[in-house]
Amino acid sequence: MKMTTQDEFAEHEIVATLGLVTGNTIRSRHIGKDILAGLRSIVGGEVTEYTKMLAEAREQSLDRMRANAQRLKADGIVGIRFTTSPIMAGAAELLAYGTAVRLRPRGDAPGASASEAAAKVIPKTGDNFMLERG
């Protein structure tokens, strides 16, 4: 699954837009880590307990968004964004969202070899089907 924050891929062109896909989670650390984080704020520096919490939330929301896109049989997700909001003390919500798309390699792209594109039929909207260029 290809994912990007851009609106399109350099090596692939979008042949179908499948719609919005999201993935979100709310995570917290256990009370021991919360106490450690509170003590760490006294002396300053990185609060590694919450760094880990947000990293876990980021990866989990990305995985859930990717799973939603796979259910739509998407090849990629474009325009990915993250948003976060405070739910309760010591917990964070992370929402990842983007647009699921179907892709085909661009003819002039380095990855678009003749073998991978040959005789690959990609359905387009409506009745017409497009044969990929070799």
């Binding site: 995570r27 021991g32 106490i35 450690l36 760094t51 880990k52 990293a55 876990e56 990866e59 989990q60």
Partner: protein, 70 residues
């Protein structure tokens, strides 16, 4: 988790156990009105057991806890 962290958690766990024990003894000593507190304590305890059980069975949480650091 280093030695300091383990020692800290052990002390806090011990404190929590004594504190809960004191709450239970206090609730029984204040019979019959103490029963109200005891019922609340049992309710929270049951919910806490449910939360712990769900966390222990959650493989997805284990995956992110073990494999994601930064």
């Amino acid at each position: 988790m280093d030695g300091f962290e383990k020692l800290g958690y052990a002390c806090l766990g011990l404190l929590a156990l004594f504190y809960i024990g004191a709450l239970v003894v206090g609730s029984i000593a204040a019979f019959p009105f103490g029963l109200l507190g005891l019922v609340g304590l049992v309710g929270i305890g049951v919910l806490f057991v449910k939360v712990i059980g769900e966390r222990l069975r959650n493989r997805e949480d284990d995956h992110y806890s073990k494999n994601v650091d930064q």
